[in-house]
C-alpha cells in the first residue's frame, strides 16, 4: 500500500496543479463559451465515479462468492467514493446545463443511468449504516444487482427517448481541448485511486484494531 501511495500522491498533485493552467489555455468552445469549461471537471468526475463503482461491484462479487472479508472493505471504499464523485458530477452537470442550454436536467440515457447508479450506491451506504449487523452480505448483493442493472436502465431510457425528440449534448471538440481533458481525467482518476487506497487502509486498520481489542481480552 505504502509503496503505491507516494507516487500516486505526487501524480495527483501534479495533475491538479497543472490542470487550471491547461484549462485556462484551452480554447473557448464555439457555442457555449466559458461555461463549457466545467466539462473538464464534470466528465472526469463521472469517470472516477464509474471506476469506484466498478471496483465496488467486483469486490462485492468476490466477497459474496468467495467469502473473503477483505474484499468487503474494498467494496465499502468503492461505494463511498462513487457517491462522492457522483455528487460532484451531479452538481457540475446541472450547473453547466442551466447556463449552456437553459435546462437543469435532461432525461437522456446517460444522465439517467448515472443518476440511478448513484442512487444505488447511496442506498448501499444507507443499508450499511442502518441495516444493523449482517448488512455486509446484503450490500454486496445490492452492489452486484446495481451493476447488472445499469445496462438495462441505459437501454430502456435510450429506447424511450428515441420516440421523443431530444435535445442532445452535441459539442464540437476542438483538437486543443484534448490535452486539458486528458490532464483532468488523469487527475481525477488518480485522485480516485488514491482515495480508494487510503479508505481501504482505514478499514484495514479498523479491522486490525478490532482484532487487537479481542486479543487483549485473552
Amino acid at each position: 500500500m505504502k509503496k503505491r501511495f507516494a507516487p500516486l500522491l505526487i501524480l495527483t498533485a501534479a495533475a491538479f496543479a497543472y490542470a487550471p493552467l491547461a484549462i485556462q489555455r484551452a480554447p473557448y468552445e464555439s457555442t457555449m463559451g466559458l461555461v463549457q469549461k466545467i466539462f473538464y471537471f464534470h466528465v472526469p468526475s463521472w469517470m472516477a465515479m464509474f471506476l469506484a463503482a466498478t471496483v465496488c461491484g467486483i469486490a462485492s462479487a468476490i466477497f459474496l462468492f468467495a467469502g473473503r472479508k477483505s474484499y468487503d472493505r474494498i467494496a465499502v471504499a468503492g461505494a463511498e467514493l462513487s457517491v462522492v464523485f457522483g455528487l460532484i458530477g451531479l452538481i457540475t452537470g446541472p450547473l453547466w446545463g442551466r447556463k449552456a442550454w437553459g435546462v437543469w436536467w435532461q432525461w437522456d440515457a446517460r444522465l439517467t443511468s448515472a443518476l440511478v447508479m448513484w442512487l444505488i450506491f447511496v442506498a448501499y451506504l444507507l443499508l450499511r449504516k442502518y441495516g444493523g449487523s449482517g448488512s455486509e452480505k446484503l450490500s454486496a448483493v445490492l452492489a452486484l444487482f446495481g451493476m447488472a442493472n445499469v445496462p438495462f436502465v441505459y437501454l430502456s431510457v435510450n429506447i424511450w427517448r428515441t420516440v421523443h425528440p431530444k435535445t442532445s449534448v452535441v459539442m464540437t471538440l476542438e483538437p486543443d481541448m484534448g490535452r486539458p481533458f486528458l490532464v483532468c481525467a488523469l487527475a481525477f482518476v488518480s485522485l480516485c485511486a488514491l482515495m480508494l487506497l487510503t479508505r481501504v487502509q482505514l478499514e484495514n486498520r479498523r479491522a486490525e484494531l478490532d482484532e487487537l481489542f479481542l486479543a487483549l481480552e485473552d
Partner: protein, 247 residues
C-alpha cells in the same frame, strides 16, 4: 451413558428412516402451496394489499385530474406505480410473517435446495400480485377510459413480465432483510432503483397500448426488454440467494 447394545439398536432404528431429497420443483411447490394455504385462511395480505392498491390509484388519479377529466397518459403510469407500491407492501408483509415465527430459519435447516425456497416464495408473491392486478387493471381502465380489452393478451403479458421482474428482485431483498434493522424502509430504498427499468418498460409498453393509435411493435419491444430483464435477474437471484442468506 447408555450401554453399547442399546446404542446399537437405537442406531438401527435411526438408519431405518431414509430421507430422499425432493426435486427442485416439488420443493418450490411445497413452499408455494403452504404460503397460499396460509394466505387463504386469513386473506389478510391480499385484502390489505388490494385496498392499498385501490387507494393508490385514487390518490394519483385525483392528483392528475384537470377540470374534472383525468389525464389520458396518466393511466399507464398510475397502474404501474400502484403495482410497485402495493408490491413492496405485500413483500414486506409476507416476510414479516416468516420473521415473527422464525419459520424461514427452520426451512433453511432442512436439506432442501435453497434456490427452491426462493422460487417457492417468489411464486407465492406472484400469485398474490396477480390477484391484485386482476382487480386494479380494470379499475384503472374504468377510471381513465383506457382500452384494456383491445389487446388484452399483450397487456397481460406486459403486466406478468413486469411483475415477475419486480417480484424477483423484491423477494430476494425482502428475504435478505428479514433480520436487518429498519427493514421496513430499507426494502423500498433498495428495491426501487434496481427496478427502474421494469417501471420504464412497463409504463411505456402499457402506455403505447392505451393510446389512440396503438403501436404494437413498440409494445412488443418493451415486452422483450422485460423478459430479458426477468431472465437476467431471476438467474442472478438464484445464484446469490444461498450466499446472501447464510448468516
Amino acid at each position: 451413558m447408555a450401554s453399547e447394545s442399546v446404542v446399537a439398536s437405537g442406531d438401527r432404528a435411526m438408519r431405518s428412516a431414509p430421507a430422499a431429497r425432493s426435486s427442485f420443483l416439488a420443493t418450490a411447490w411445497l413452499i408455494t402451496r403452504k404460503d397460499l394455504v396460509i394466505e387463504f385462511r386469513s386473506r389478510e395480505v391480499v385484502y390489505t394489499t388490494l385496498f392499498f392498491a385501490v387507494s393508490c390509484v385514487l390518490v394519483f388519479a385525483f392528483s392528475f385530474v384537470k377540470e374534472g377529466v383525468a389525464a389520458q397518459d396518466a393511466a399507464a403510469g398510475i397502474l404501474w406505480i400502484a403495482i410497485a407500491f402495493s408490491g413492496t407492501l405485500a413483500l414486506g408483509r409476507a416476510f414479516e410473517r416468516e420473521r415473527q415465527n422464525d419459520t424461514l430459519r427452520a426451512l433453511m435447516l432442512t436439506p432442501v435446495d435453497r434456490p427452491a425456497v426462493y422460487i417457492g416464495k417468489l411464486a407465492g408473491v406472484l400469485a398474490l400480485l396477480a390477484v391484485v392486478e386482476a382487480i386494479v387493471t380494470p379499475l384503472v381502465a374504468l377510471m381513465f377510459g383506457a382500452p384494456v380489452l383491445d389487446h388484452a393478451l399483450l397487456l397481460a403479458a406486459l403486466l406478468a413480465a413486469g411483475t415477475i421482474g419486480f417480484a424477483a428482485v423484491g423477494t430476494l431483498f425482502a428475504a435478505m432483510l428479514i433480520r436487518a434493522r429498519s427493514r421496513d424502509v430499507l426494502l423500498p430504498i433498495l428495491l426501487y432503483p434496481i427496478t427502474i427499468p421494469v417501471i420504464i418498460a412497463g409504463v411505456r409498453g402499457t402506455g403505447v397500448l392505451f393510446q389512440a393509435d396503438v403501436d404494437l411493435p413498440m409494445a412488443r419491444l418493451w415486452l422483450s426488454i422485460l423478459v430479458f430483464f426477468d431472465l437476467v435477474f431471476v438467474t442472478l437471484a438464484l445464484w446469490t440467494f444461498e450466499p446472501a442468506m447464510k448468516e
